[in-house]
């Protein structure tokens, strides 16, 4: 039998996917599973935009231009203006989700073994895209005691080597929900300018900033036109994950030319998704505002509930729809699995993402989990009921086992 590649064997499996077969087994037993493990919201996709797609006159679903349909890119220019971001369609390359955007950037910006500095915990699939392009992720660790704020600039500076090509952050952050202020971003901007690095910012959660904080895009830092690259996607802001429509936005002409070549290679991004995405911008009205209020409420449910749980360390996340909490456990992989195999409360249980998969540094995150507050408040409360009871029971079971072992 011909053998698969070594790199194929080593593709990192995302931490929020590897428990799926176990969750399916739990469901097959008739158990209700609250999915707080994946960023798949329960919010409807804007119905007016779906209606527009469904009324569109489509005779031949042809390849779109490789960089995206012009009229959609024009709508994106208007959308970015809402954040005072001045772009031109030539700055925008439409991609198959943010996933493809990151993959293309890994190729276009990095040669083999080049490095990117990424604050950890980070969105675990970055590992896979870097792996596919032989890019080395240099993690810089954030601390739960500061709500996972970015490390000091001097700490970033110490990480820079001759092979460093970029600093890559997610703002607001997945998996921590941390919001990065204009001040911090400008400091990072000065650093990448000094060392001639790219500053890549995944801004797919830009709409979801709470507590009155205003989102600031690195695209608005003057003098960084050649350094700044923004990754975007419609998945989260419009609850349209299945559309697979993302984008790269940059003013770096050399990079745009290179991305254009990669874009042509795979012919075009999804056509129907682009029609929908264009309609979503055109018809969104109060949609995003209402969705933000909804997530803010859910955030407070999770925050308040976790705060009351014994031994749990948490913080109020400033953005996105995640929090990254510390539990009184030693092995969150085991705990998350146990939730699906050994636990039930009112015939329900909860699925979380174990923390370690979000770290590149071995040994970190083993007492942490990511919680995606993508369910409505009633479901969230029910999930938190499960979690509270589960944690107490799990901690007790572990203690009992340890007592038995120590006799």
């Amino acid at each position: 039998m011909p053998r698969i590649s070594t790199r194929g064997k080593n593709v990192p499996l995302s931490p929020f996917r590897k428990l799926i077969p176990i969750a399916n087994a739990a469901k097959a037993k008739g158990r209700k599973v609250y999915h707080l493990n994946i960023g798949q919201p329960d919010i409807p996709t804007p119905p007016q935009a779906i209606k527009a797609l469904q009324e569109a006159d489509i005779e031949i679903l042809a390849y779109s231009p490789a960089v995206g349909i012009t009229s959609y890119r024009e709508r994106l220019v208007e959308y970015y203006q809402r954040f005072d971001i001045q772009t031109d369609i030539s700055n925008i390359i439409v991609t198959t989700g943010a996933s493809e955007a990151i993959q293309l950037l890994c190729w276009a910006c990095f040669d083999h073994e080049d490095e990117m500095i990424v604050p950890e915990p980070f969105y675990a699939n970055y590992n896979g895209f870097a792996h596919n392009a032989d890019v080395v992720i240099q993690p810089i660790t954030c601390d739960i005691d500061s709500g996972f704020a970015l490390p000091k600039i001097a700490d970033f500076e110490r990480m820079i080597t001759p092979r460093t090509k970029a600093i890559f952050i997610t703002n607001p952050n997945n998996p921590t929900g941390c919001f990065y202020s204009e001040e911090v971003l400008r400091q990072l901007g000065a650093l990448v300018k000094e060392y001639d690095l790219y500053l890549v910012v995944d801004e797919v959660y830009r709409e979801f900033c709470y507590d009155g904080q205003e989102f600031f895009s690195v695209l608005n830092i003057e003098g960084l036109e050649d350094n700044v690259i923004v990754v975007d996607s419609v998945s989260k802001r419009y609850s349209a994950c299945g559309a697979r429509i993302g984008a790269v936005v940059t003013r770096n002409q050399e990079l745009l030319t290179t991305l254009d070549r990669y874009a042509k290679l795979r012919l075009s991004p999804p056509g129907l998704g682009q029609i929908l995405a264009e309609a979503m911008i055109e018809t969104d009205g109060d949609y995003i505002k209402e969705v933000k209020v909804e997530y803010d409420n859910r955030r407070m449910v999770v925050y308040e509930r976790l705060k009351k749980m014994k031994g749990v360390k948490n913080y109020k996340p400033g953005g996105a729809f995640y929090c990254f909490a510390e539990f009184p456990i030693q092995d969150s992989d085991d705990f998350c699995k146990w939730l699906l195999t050994d636990f039930e409360h009112k015939n329900s249980t909860v699925m979380l993402s174990p923390g370690s998969g979000f770290y590149a540094t071995a040994g970190l995150g083993q007492n942490q989990v990511r919680i995606a507050y993508v369910l409505n408040s009633d479901d969230l409360h029910a999930a938190m009921d499960c979690l509270e009871i589960a944690l107490a029971r799990y901690v007790k079971e572990v203690e009992q086992k340890e007592n038995v072992l120590s006799i």
Copy 2:
């Protein structure tokens, strides 16, 4: 300014795309351009399937399963049965077009510098996917005098090195339109079995086989369950290039496991495209049969017209919707460009793909072009009128220049 990667600089640009700006300039001058350069048919996408998509009840456009929507994979199983191919949904991984299928295979089957043997001329974007994964394409040259039939098995065998992992063919072929018979495929099958290689067959044109020839899939060769990999796409058979829905079909379990990991990494293939693709299989009725008759007629128009052109060498292609002809010229890049910049007939011209881009061996294909017969017969005749006049004029102009230079 941070510099893009060396690999980014070296992405091969597809030969049918690099003339686009020049074609746009011609159009801006008010010239009609007949596009025979790209496999974008003018055939309508099945209207009943578009209707089904437009009537579908979509509330949340969520991520689909990473390997594709189950009901769509079930329809694909039924579709393959039309060709007596027995599969199970577990053998099918839905991808973002055949493009992504090939990219994933380049990662999953090959390590850096591993080799795949590909008969040339071949679909030029294979170069790019191989480049992205550092896979080395070892070309084996086909001859226009045999209608680009596959070389002898002994010639394939001579190409095999310790780094060879796969033989990769397209059946029916793009860019040559050559159809490969069951007999030839079984011979190749025996070879890959003997040398423990993958046999990857891009079958996206399987519906378009002419002159009563019956398509035979390598999936039906017994004993090759671990060797055979089929690449598929809905783009051509349903004229739905913009849907971006393809697939990998294989029975190799280890490979399926690996592809599943890559699939999870990019979360899911396009959701709307999958809904459409499922409806296309369900409602296609006589659609494919009618489209095949249409292409067959177009094939004969191109074949007959080329046959009558002075100095042109061609053949009757057995499948797909391409032919690869030899012209009485030295430099098809120059000729294809000249068609767009210096030529017009009734204020029209024609866009073709220069042949050299379809070869990996330097120097080959310079007197050849690919013609995609994707336009209706009237347009095709008009395009052939242009081509006939253009060729005569170009040949004369070149002769005159040479005479001037030789004085």
